[in-house]
Assembly symmetry: C2
Homo-oligomer: 86 residues x 2
């Protein structure tokens, strides 16, 4: 898919503007950006001495951790359903 078919959404995260290119709707991207912002604020308030890049890396670690957990829940549920059908 070419860039022309992707949405360009400008969001502000931690005081900095970012242009996000993707197939997702602008409202979805803005929602995601607001979650990232919130997570960064939360981690920053607990660790006020962190510089922005470390703060952002820890935010990414936090987000990937959440992702892995919910992904495991999903896979477990899918497996249970499969067993029920067998």
């Amino acid at each position: 898919m070419s860039n022309q078919e992707k949405n360009r959404t400008t969001v502000e995260i931690h005081g900095q503007s970012y242009i996000i290119l993707g197939l997702e709707s602008p409202s979805h991207i803005r929602y995601v950006a607001s979650l990232v912002n919130e997570k960064m604020r939360e981690i920053s308030s607990k660790n006020p001495s962190l510089d922005v890049s470390k703060l952002a890396v820890l935010t990414a670690v936090n987000a990937v951790n959440d992702y892995v957990k919910v992904k495991e829940q999903l896979e477990k549920l899918q497996e249970e359903l499969k067993k029920e059908k067998d």
Copy 2:
């Protein structure tokens, strides 16, 4: 829960060491860190001019996006199951 009961895991992400405090096992944290590293490398290879903090923020956006999607899938499946039982 006090810090004493949390695991301290040192991981390296994008050439920088981080101490992660959490209830998760060190092996889980190392797995999460390896996913963050991979995502950062992938985004960096597509956008070689990004500085580390922007790269990390975009990695966090990417991770939260993945999280939101899989979370929606999980909720949809849970709702379907609930309907089946009703």
